[in-house]
Structures are given as structure tokens and as C-alpha cells.
Symmetry: C2
Subunit: 172 residues, 2 copies
């Protein structure tokens, strides 16, 4: 099945966890969250779908909720590799230490320049790429775009780029 999605941020609302994720649904009389899906949920659903591997090359990862989903997949045996910019060593909210503690391999660049990519490859099959760093601000604040596709003309060069980057970068 061909995947061809374009997602723009900011999301208009934060999705209601009860409505979407609990068996009972949402029982609030007036719910502050959204009962329609969001770009953020669409992005997360692809990461949640990982069966074999998640290769992340994202400049800044500070969003707790995305990190949770990655950690969940890691815990069920999905092979996760993460590359961030080296500035994540000291960045507020950086999830790098949490990933490391849980046994996920994390690399950073050793160049004086930025590891500025914002892409993730799921099972060597699905690519999500764009302007979107994995921060909370990017979800509900910034203007951002993400292209999600499984077309080989995009996925294959990004897989090769990830392998190359993994060699060029060093353990966090």
C-alpha cells in the first residue's frame, strides 16, 4: 500500500488521550482536548507501527511523548538507533539521556556544524521528513511540515544517508 501523506503543524488542538486511547473513552462533559485526529497522532501512529527498526536522525529531541513511543517500541524488541545534534548534550528537556538509560543507542555528530536533519525511517520502509524537530513547541506552536511516504525513490537514499551518518557520528 502506497503511503503519501503531507502533514502541517501547528495542530489546532491536543488530541484527547481518553477519547483515542482508553477503553472507556472520554467521559468529560466539556473536554479541553480534541476528539478529532491530529498531525501529531498521525506521525506517532507511523512510529508505533514499527516492527523491526526505527532509525531517527533529528536535530533536537525533547518531546517526552514522542520519546515514550520510541521507548515502547524499543522495549518490545524493535531495533532503535538515534542520531541527534551534539547540542542535545546540554539542551533543556533532551531525551538523549533517557534513551541511553533504557539501552537505546544514541549517536551525535563530532563536526563543528549542525546535525540538522529531521527524519525518521521506520522498518526501512516508511520515511517521515521535513522541518519538524521532536519538540512540544513544534506540535502546537510552530509552522512546520512533514512528508510521510514509502516510495522507494525517497526511502532508499535516506536509508543510505542514515547508514553513512551512523558511521560518521560517535556514541553519545
Amino acid at each position: 500500500k502506497v503511503i503519501r501523506q503531507v502533514i502541517f503543524f501547528p495542530d489546532k488542538h491536543i488530541a484527547c488521550k481518553d477519547f483515542f486511547d482508553s477503553v472507556e473513552g472520554c467521559s468529560r462533559i466539556r473536554c479541553d482536548f480534541g476528539h478529532t485526529t491530529t498531525g501529531f497522532r498521525q506521525l506517532l501512529s507511523h512510529i508505533k507501527s514499527a516492527r523491526k527498526s526505527i532509525d531517527v536522525a533529528v536535530y533536537c529531541i525533547s518531546c517526552f511523548e514522542i520519546a515514550n513511543v520510541v521507548l515502547q517500541r524499543h522495549k518490545v524488541g524493535v531495533k532503535v538507533r538515534v542520531i541527534t545534534d551534539k547540542s542535545m548534550e546540554i539542551a533543556y528537556g533532551s531525551q538523549n539521556h533517557r534513551f541511553m538509560k533504557e539501552g537505546i543507542r544514541v549517536h551525535t555528530n563530532k563536526t563543528p556544524f549542525l546535525m540538522h536533519h529531521k527524519f525518521v525511517i521506520i522498518d526501512d520502509e516508511i520515511l517521515c521528513t521535513g522541518s519538524f524537530n521532536w519538540t512540544s513547541q513544534a506540535v502546537t506552536g510552530n509552522n512546520e511540515s512533514v512528508v510521510i511516504t514509502n516510495e522507494p525513490w525517497t526511502v532508499e537514499p535516506f536509508c543510505a544517508e542514515f547508514q553513512k551518518l551512523w558511521q560518521e557520528t560517535v556514541p553519545f
Copy 2:
């Protein structure tokens, strides 16, 4: 003709202007620049190909050489619109003032968040999108990626997003 390109930065070298752009070619015995094409040249070639319109939504524009190409197209009647983040008002090397002075319409966001897109649409037909800000550092330093395509499933939503952003943003 279908366009499907993926470009990764940093470029290994800066392309030799004489070799590529002058009638005489390069006459240096030892040339410090490159005589093979670069990702940067490929990106510029799409902007140079504009016949009708160039719609730019890029967080940071400080690269003199890309700005030159945009200005050249503006001068021959191509309809150019530029949206950057409002931080470009005070950013070092910002090309916004130069664009304005030459009569290009420039908008910035009025939200407290980032206009973090990094895309350009040429003639409503070709989309270049990715992690790449229009800075010199991004060309020869950073790890960056750009997807270039004319496939309608990507171009059309980005055109709609640009129109929406143009309404939401304000003259610089």
C-alpha cells in the same frame, strides 16, 4: 517529466563559478573549487528555472548567493513572495531587507512561535522541502536533506499551505 530528487548536504566542495558559468571556463592550473556539480547547484538550478512564480517559506534566509538567484528571477518578472520567521528582522546576514529594497514582497509571522518551514515552490509545479535553511553554513557545513519533486500529492498541499500562510503573516 517527473522530478524526483533527494539532495543531502554538506556539499563536498564549492562549485567553480568559472568552470560552470563563464564562457571561457576555468583557467586555474590548480583550482580550489569543484568541477563536479553539487547539491547546492542542483537546488539553485530549480530556482533559476522559474518562469512564473517563486513562493518561499524558509525560516532563515542569509545566503547571499541564493538571494541573488531569487532577485535575478524577480528582475525578469517572475512573481516572488517570501515568508521568513520574524527573527530575520534582526538576524545577521538576513536577506529580507535586500529583498524588500528590490521590490520583493516579504512577510513574517506574527505568532510567538516559529515560522519554521524550509520549502520553496517554483511555478506552482516544483517543490523543494526539507531541513535546509538558506544559509551558507547549511551548504558546506551542516548535515541537511532536501526533497525535490513535482508530484502533485506533495506540491498541491504545499501550495495550499503557502496561500494560507501568506494570509496569516504580515508585511515585513
